[in-house]
């Protein structure tokens, strides 16, 4: 394969994701609205494929959510109102950053507690070793 042809294939491959991105073009009235849209679609979990946000997901439900968010923003709804709409139907599960509350505190504070307990244990251990050595 000639170098030029290889180069051509590489360029085609590089632009493939752009072709997918062009599938749905959303038009916005302002930069703020556009930013709100992209922030929102990154904040919600795809409920069909839980390890993706709806911006990355190709699942049909994720596309429906994206369309709904777009339509609601165009109608003038606030991002908070849109978030409430989805929360009411899907619960906090749909948020990639769940809020800190009595159900989620272990998730948020757990790692810090583990680090703290580990440091305490190691501290005690080294204190003893040092005391025995002296």
């Amino acid at each position: 394969m000639s170098r030029a042809r290889k180069g051509l294939y590489l360029v085609i491959l590089l632009f493939c994701p752009l072709l997918f991105a062009m599938n749905e073009i959303y038009q916005f009235e302002s930069k703020t609205q556009e930013q709100q849209f992209y922030d929102l679609i990154k904040a919600f979990r795809c409920v069909t494929c839980p390890n993706q946000n709806i911006a990355d997901s190709q699942a049909s439900v994720a596309k429906a959510m994206t369309d709904e968010i777009y339509q609601r923003l165009k109608k003038g709804e606030s991002p908070q109102a849109i978030q409430n709409f989805l929360l009411e139907r899907y619960g906090e599960y749909v948020l990639y950053r769940p809020p800190l509350n009595k159900h989620t505190w272990v998730l948020w504070l757990g790692p810090f507690i583990i680090v703290l307990v580990s440091v305490l244990i190691w501290g005690c251990f080294f204190y003893r070793v040092k005391r025995e050595a002296t």
């Binding site: 049909s60 429906a64 139907r89």
Partner: protein, 182 residues
């Protein structure tokens, strides 16, 4: 001295114990089967809608359903699992007199109709949810999903994924019979 030594030794097991607890908690968390991501959707009023019937092109609304018990089933022709599951629904319809409400989700209506033409059509109404708005209002996580809607228009049960005949008999039929006796 020996007693103190034992106590000091037992300290060394503490990190292992804590690690064990963490692993156990994480391992328990892997059990997805028990979790319905939308548990609040049961005993939730069926959302208002106004959608075209794929076959008659007539507009159907929630008021058309009220007064009767419905099994609402969300499916699409692009969903392989739904097509495989279709025979279960026709069997259910042949065996029991419950009304079936089909919701064709974000699909080409002609493709959905051609599947029904080949495999049989068990539905009383067949809504065309092209934009997926009814699906969102239902808290749909994917296709297929099945809902039981009582005569007051309240969702009484929400089943995620394909339904087997056995699951219908064991889980859904008792709920339908209970609602009938209320």
């Amino acid at each position: 001295m020996k007693l103190i030594g034992l106590r000091e030794n037992s300290w060394r097991f503490l990190p292992a114990l804590i690690l064990g607890i963490i692993i156990w908690v994480l391992f328990k968390g892997l059990d997805f089967k028990q979790q319905d991501p939308t548990p609040q959707i049961s005993d939730f009023p069926f959302p208002e809608f106004s959608l075209e019937d794929v076959r008659t092109k007539q507009i159907v609304t929630l008021d058309d359903l009220k007064g009767q018990l419905y099994i609402a089933h969300v499916w699409a022709s692009w969903c392989r699992i739904c097509i495989n599951e279709h025979d279960v629904l026709t069997q259910i319809k042949n065996k029991w007199p419950y009304n079936l409400l089909g919701i064709v989700y974000r699909d080409n209506p002609d493709k959905a109709l051609s599947i029904l033409a080949n495999k049989g059509d068990p539905y009383e109404y067949l809504l065309n949810d092209q934009a997926g708005q009814l699906g969102l209002s239902l808290g749909l996580t994917g296709t297929p999903e099945t809902f039981i809607v009582d005569s007051q228009g309240v969702i009484r049960y929400h089943h995620l994924g394909a339904l087997t005949f056995l699951q219908f008999e064991n889980q859904i039929l008792p709920i339908l019979e209970q609602i009938n006796h209320e």
